[in-house]
Symmetry: C2
Subunit: 406 residues, 2 copies
């Protein structure tokens, strides 16, 4: 309806929604509030007071300071919306509905997930979700396996790969996840006092670790296996008593599948670590079971989807099993990277930062980082039972003996 971009006011948003969305025609019934934390994106909720229905409008900020940066922003929003639409074809119940994407206004109108909460917050509050493993494994298997070369025909796959080349957001990951936590080259790591010396020795000075990280970074840079979510942590998942909705796929690109699965493993491990130091066995038991079930179900569902493949060599079960099991091995390595960067790097997770007692916080960090190093460097940890064995072993060891800097 608008022919030129501008940043919409609350009144503009009401007018916009009334023109674009059925059931919102009467502008006098609409109420609009800004609910985002408004850095790059502005997020508005528009409620129709006569029906009590609501939608979300997400508009990219102008960022007109330099034109490059504006282009970045536009493309990020395009990618997010186009991925949500593709995911809705495969897992309609697990993503918000996109009602409209407007290339000119650089905004989209989508389902209001007002009955959902951010999963990370819920985990921090100690809530457990028995259905999570089943739903997230479906989300991953469906969206990841169905965008591989096993399922898409060669032209479709390459067209998606081209559509989702995402240089700007990949570069953020390449730096924040795959580089900075290990060498702090931009001096922007933030180490918790009490863990500094140990991190400097165990992370900044370990060349064997750096070598493995360099190889994982090459894999991330070069391996276009499937259309990833690209930022699949518990802050990108809305949840309630019945189901999840996965949001914010702005980091999406064709990458190594294990990166998404690894982020789920690592972020469940942050919550596990919080409750491990608080000695809440009921939560840690749930977290461990959920990590195992997520990966086991992901494996089963993936193999079932891959069995539909028209790739001639897919007739050999060993080809498919090797493919999926290598992804699971990768996911453990990538989990090690996420575990590292969220403790050492700029972007911390509230699961750890909101632990009140400093000794507990130091211990929780040490748990995550000890697990992280093993995930990255230990070749023997290749399946999810090895991973669970590892985290229990590290927990027993650290909680029994306390931390040391040697």
């Amino acid at each position: 309806m608008f022919t030129e971009y501008f940043l919409m006011s609350l009144e503009d948003i009401k007018k916009y929604v009334s023109k674009q969305i059925k059931g919102y025609e009467n502008i006098d019934n609409l109420a609009c509030t800004e609910i985002g934390d408004g850095n790059l994106n502005y997020v508005f909720r528009v409620v129709n007071n006569s029906t009590n229905q609501s939608v979300i409008v997400k508009q990219a900020g102008p960022q007109a300071r330099i034109s490059d940066s504006f282009l970045l922003s536009t493309d990020r929003n395009r990618i997010e919306t186009e991925v949500l639409i593709l995911e809705a074809e495969k897992t309609p119940d697990l993503v918000p509905v996109v009602y409209l994407y407007d290339e000119i206004m650089n905004c989209c109108i989508m389902e209001d997930l007002k009955d959902f909460q951010i999963m990370r917050k819920e985990l921090i509050a100690g809530k457990k979700f028995l259905f999570f493993a089943d739903q997230i494994s479906t989300f991953m298997a469906e969206n990841l396996m169905r965008t591989t070369d096993f399922i898409l025909n060669p032209k479709e796959k390459k067209n998606y790969q081209k559509q989702f080349i995402n240089p700007e957001l990949c570069e953020i990951t390449e730096e924040l996840v795959f580089t900075e936590p290990f060498i702090d080259f931009k001096n922007q790591n933030i180490l918790t006092p009490g863990n500094e010396e140990w991190i400097e020795k165990e992370f900044y000075e370990d060349e064997e670790l750096h070598f493995k990280v360099a190889q994982l970074k090459q894999q991330f840079l070069t391996q276009g296996q499937a259309l990833l979510h690209g930022d699949l942590h518990t802050g990108s998942i809305f949840i309630n008593e019945k189901s999840i909705k996965v949001i914010d796929p702005e980091f999406a690109f064709y990458g190594p599948i294990g990166y998404d699965a690894g982020n789920i493993i690592a972020n469940l491990t942050f919550a596990w670590s919080r409750f491990a130091v608080l000695r809440d066995d009921s939560f840690t038991d749930w977290a461990e079971n959920t990590i195992r079930n997520t990966i086991q179900l992901f494996r089963e569902k993936s193999l079932k989807i891959l069995a539909e493949s028209k790739e001639p060599f897919a007739k050999y079960e060993t080809v498919l099993v090797t493919f999926v099991d290598k992804i699971i091995k990768d996911s453990i390595s990538f989990a090690g990277l996420e575990l590292s960067r969220r403790i050492i790097g700029l972007a911390k997770v509230a699961d750890i930062t909101t632990i009140e007692e400093i000794d507990h916080r130091i211990m929780a960090e040490r748990l995550c980082l000890s697990i992280a190093k093993k995930c990255i460097t230990d070749k023997e940890i290749i399946d999810i039972d090895h991973y669970l064995g590892l985290i229990r072993e590290v927990k027993r060891e650290l909680l029994l003996n306390g931390i040391s800097n040697n």
Copy 2:
């Protein structure tokens, strides 16, 4: 100069060149002949009789039967020209100069390599080229390593990757190289009588071989390491007494570096195999030395280029050495695929097909295929000395004992 595409006649071509290229203005001095074998592309030589200079005009045929097929053709020519221009920035002496690319006319004007011959023909005639290893290793190291993530910045790399997404031509390779030779699913393999039974047993029925091929196919489909030539065989190389010119990069895309290097190894091995059965030790010695020198020089030059990397982890020599040595290992595996598909599949090589004596031809094929299987399945053959050991061993064995079908 033309605003709408049409297929140019000899007179149109003269007019076109006279308007576009300096030194060709006087149309009365120009002579034009079609020199291509004219399937999809029409290739014209335009000579200025007053200066004796000449240029080549390459125009894509209309293929207007179905529109998809026309789009394929257009993009293939765009990719070829754009890659030649990029290669000319890095290795100006080793590629033909592109004078003009015309998106509307779907044609380009380029340097006439009239003083050069197709290398495969020269090899078949038994000619040896002492400078070849040096020049082709420069071509590979410069064009491959300088398009990796080690050298390009993240945005440049991804923009090139997007620019050279090449679904149609990759699909040809995926089928002809990575699938058909091993399972003949389209019934278009052509087996030389005398080798049929053995190939059926050793290639069509060997599940272990299929498993390895499936993994190499996944690598080809997913690993975007560098901008490959994509079809780097001795028929894509012009040569004379002093230098080479690498042509026809229409298969270019971001793929695994070992694929290009492997094609060089395999195609030198075809010529080697021809002269092995003809018992010409002088040629086979040159070929073996050239294979070794090509890969050793490629390794050295690659490491030197990678030492310029601004990637933080590139400060570790072990990261770079591991990267290059893995590429060399890959190249041997990919050489096995090229060796297989050129003997078993549709696209034969004249090095073998022009061997007059049928027994010699069968033997040469058997040499190539025995080497191929080992390259694909034997994990121990990881460097070029192993490869040379292998081909000498296979040669000694087969020439001594003769072929058998067991």
